[in-house]
Amino acid sequence: MKGIAVSTTVNGDAVEFVCDARETLLDVLRNHLGLTGAKEGCGTGDCGACSVLLDGQLVCSCLVLGAEVEGREIETVEGMADGDRLHPLQKRFLEHAALQCGVCTPGFLVAAKALLERNSNPSESEIRYALAGNLCRCTGYDKIVHAVHAAAGDLRRQQKARKKRKAAG
């Protein structure tokens, strides 16, 4: 098969790559673009370790073909922090010891970000169901749920402060 040339945006940067028609977005991120934050835990969409946002929509990058992302916007765990400032989710995961081995963590962070973008104040049950596509074998999920809950609070407070500033300014 001949290579397919693709132009796309990853974490805000324009990138171009040539991939084989069978290669997935995960293969492309890891093997062509050097972004190994997304992991392959299964390759069949069952573990969520390869979660990324595709035009803002949470997807398993192992179930997207590299050739499909022409002109799209991709966001990975590598793009979560704002410069040297960690995203509140990243901070809370550390504070709550929400990771042990850490291999599922990038996927959880991306999935949790997608959740908090559409629901700023999720209940425990909403958090659990929203993260059901991400497998963790170390933690029993307990500290992950707590960390997401805490980060949701941080983001709401940030939002409020931003609104206040806007109103004042």
Partner: protein, 272 residues
Amino acid sequence: MAGEKGKAYLLAGGTDLLVRMRGDFIDPDLIVDIKRIPGIQEIRKTASGFSIGAGVPCAMLGRDKALASAWPGVVEAAQLIGSDQIQGRCTMVGNLCNASPAADSVPALVAAKAKAVVVGPGGRRRVPVEDVVTGPGRTSLKKGDIVVAIELQKRPPKSGDAYLRFTPRTEMDIAVCSAGVSLTLGAGNVVKQARVALGAVAPTVVLVPKAARALVGTRLEDDALMKLAAACEAACSPIADKRGTVEFRTEVAGVMARRAAVMAYDRARGKR
């Protein structure tokens, strides 16, 4: 595509196709991404109801308030497929054409009397959803046929549908057995029309008219529900596999049907 000599596959959400490629179950010579066909990623309100494009990811169904309130069972069924990650990609048409007996959206669509819009070398035609799948992994579609949309009718007043499946896990699972029920009530909340379909208990999703008849003319009294369950059990011809035994699938299909019927009935009465 019809002209391709090798094995050609359509790519919608890719949540089944890529898994099958990965497992080496298929080795395509051509993959056609349909998502860039204009209109294929749209949910349209039509004069007769709704038309859901073949490229619409299931996550989008829930965001369409009109659709979700007219066909809550269909939308719930579609939204049970996989995780949020899968929801962002998977489609009802893909779920249908993958032709798994355990497909979540299909029993709900069959109960809803949905139609598949097929475009092919022979032109455009409407096929009842229950006639699309002919066996595990097999469909009645011909080479070059593409299902471009699913059509759902407008709802008469006092109607409701529901879909329930049994899975060992709360999420990320395949139905061991499932049931879709659609009801329309008449005066005094007596069931006027009913359709009952079961999943994962036969080579294809089965429509069970006898189960529907057990409900018509009743207010879902215990006796009617027992008859419904019995009719459902009688309609089962499942296999035993890694997901469940014959006995289990048969018995629990009846349980799912009973529970789904009660949910559909409550919805039809305006009780949520």
